[in-house]
Each structure stands twice: as structure tokens, then as C-alpha cells.
Symmetry: C2
Subunit: 169 residues, 2 copies
């Protein structure tokens, strides 16, 4: 529940973020935006927490590992970072992807996610060349027929291969 769309009206200067947001691009959040985000999620505002959100907003639709965040920030404690990421996931601010590489990747959530309910209905792409994982603007189909009596709570669709950047050269 927060907004993050580089070209969206709300992001014209002077506009305050309030609730819903959608990640569609790299965007460096302003300090007040981050603070509001944390307030709305009932999370205490600390230096580390702000920096982590900052880092995640900068990478936009590119999901990054805990280790990558750690290196971007360089001052943060590794264990604290794990706990922050867990808190963000629980709060519905961030979603994680198991892309098959063995490490979780994290990205900002879109508007359809909320506390404890990650309606993460977009496809993720893992590029084996540049070793990056990104959130694609491709929606997971909802017409799948499951065997009876399965209770579906979450879905993760990971496609891997070669991304557009690595493919074009």
C-alpha cells in the first residue's frame, strides 16, 4: 500500500505519498516518502530501515539479494538486514522470489500486496547470463484448474533464460 511510479502524477514534485503504490521503474524515493511508507506499515523509522527501502526503490523492478543490499549500503549489519527484510515481507512492503539460484531475491511490492497476503501475480525472469532477476509486467494466468481440495495461498512463476539486454548483442 504505497505508490511508486516514476511517471505517475503523484510523483510530480510536491505530492505526498499516502497509501497505494506500484513499482514500475527505478525511482529514488524521497526521505518523507519512505518515512510515510514505514508509518503506514506500523514500522518504526530507523536509519537502516530507511536505507533498505531506498536501496530497493532504486533497483525498481530488479529483485536483489540480501547480500547485494548489504554491499550497496556497506554500513548495515547482516543480521539486522535479514530481520528488516522479514519485517517488510510480513508487512507487505516487499516480496521475495526463489529464482533457483539458492538465494532469495527481494523487490518492492505492488499495490495488490497487503500484510500477510502477497498477491504477487506477476512473472519473474531470471537471466542466466547477467545473473539478474526482475519483475516482469506479465500477469500469471488465473484460469488454472487445480486438483480438488488444494488450498492455494501463493503463487510464484519464475521464467529463466536470457533477458532482453543480454540477448541484444
Amino acid at each position: 500500500m504505497a505508490f511508486l511510479d516514476f511517471n505517475h502524477e503523484r510523483f510530480k514534485p510536491g505530492f505526498e505519498i499516502t497509501s497505494t503504490f506500484v513499482v514500475t521503474n527505478n525511482y529514488r524515493m524521497k526521505d518523507t516518502e519512505i518515512t510515510n511508507l514505514l508509518h503506514n506499515a506500523n514500522l518504526r523509522v530507523t536509519k537502516s530501515r530507511k536505507e533498505v527501502l531506498q536501496a530497493l526503490s532504486e533497483t525498481g523492478d530488479q529483485a536483489i539479494s540480501s547480500n547485494e543490499i548489504e554491499q550497496k549500503l556497506s554500513e548495515i549489519d547482516r543480521i539486522t538486514l535479514y530481520r528488516i527484510l522479514k519485517a517488510y515481507e510480513d508487512a507487505g512492503l516487499v516480496h521475495s522470489i526463489a529464482d533457483g539460484t539458492g538465494k532469495k531475491k527481494y523487490a518492492m511490492c505492488s499495490s495488490n500486496c497487503s500484510e500477510g497476503d502477497h498477491q504477487d501475480n506477476h512473472v519473474h525472469f531470471y537471466c542466466r547470463v547477467c545473473d539478474t532477476t526482475s519483475c516482469l509486467n506479465v500477469v500469471i494466468p488465473t484460469n488454472l484448474k487445480f486438483p480438488t481440495n488444494y488450498l492455494v495461498e501463493e503463487q510464484q512463476f519464475v521464467v529463466s533464460g536470457i533477458c532482453k539486454d543480454c540477448h541484444n548483442q
Copy 2:
């Protein structure tokens, strides 16, 4: 690339497996079947390798971790097991699933998989109650529209929630 269907004609006693197989159920492979499988895959036949295939065929559509296989066999070396599983994956005999638990799960491949090309077009289900991952007889739709210039090589669709057994009680 090999066949494994409990009720399939080929599995009536006296029938020899040759190439294509499909895993759909628990089935304890015969020694000669396993040996043929390894021969066809150009893999040397060793005690450990046979036991690992045996173990995987027994679990059927339930994908298990390296650690679980290790415990089933109890004599195998942990590192050797990793290498065997990698060899099987490379050979297209076995596919692995990243179900979000942090450990890879392994299951026998179906007929549409071949060396280096895992057309793993079925959905996997992770049950958070009994902590099991299984291959569902649900096919991933092929009508997804990807952004241009992405080269799709593999797909993994993991659905999580509560499985039929845990849900019915």
C-alpha cells in the same frame, strides 16, 4: 526419455524399459530398468547412482531434498549425492524445484524433458503444513505474452498453500 507409469502397459511384469518414461506415481523400479536408464543417459552404473534413482522413483510425484535422499539411503556420501543429482539434472533424468524453502527438491523427469532442456511444464505445489513439495498434474499455460527479446528457456511455477491431505481433516 524413459517411462515410468505404474499402470502403463510397459510396466506389466516382463516388460523392459527402453527410452521414454513418465512419472505419475510411486513405483519401485527394477534393477534392470535402472541400469537401462543410466545406460541410455550415458552415465556409468554405480551402486550410489542406482540407489538414488531407486529412491527418487519410490517417492514418485513427491519431490524430495538432497538431505531426505541421504537419510533414505544412509550409506551415501553427502558430496557424492550432490554430484549425482547434478549429473541427473544435466542428463535430463531429474528436475529440481526451488520451492521457497531454501533447499532444492528433486523429482524424476517426465518424457518431455531431455538433456539440458527441462520442459518442466507442470505446476509444483508446496504444502506449508506437511512441508512437502509435489509435482501436480497441472500444465503451465503456454499462451503467456512476454516482452520482446526475452529468450525463455525454462519455467517454474510453484504454488503454495495447503495440500489435499492436510486440508481434509
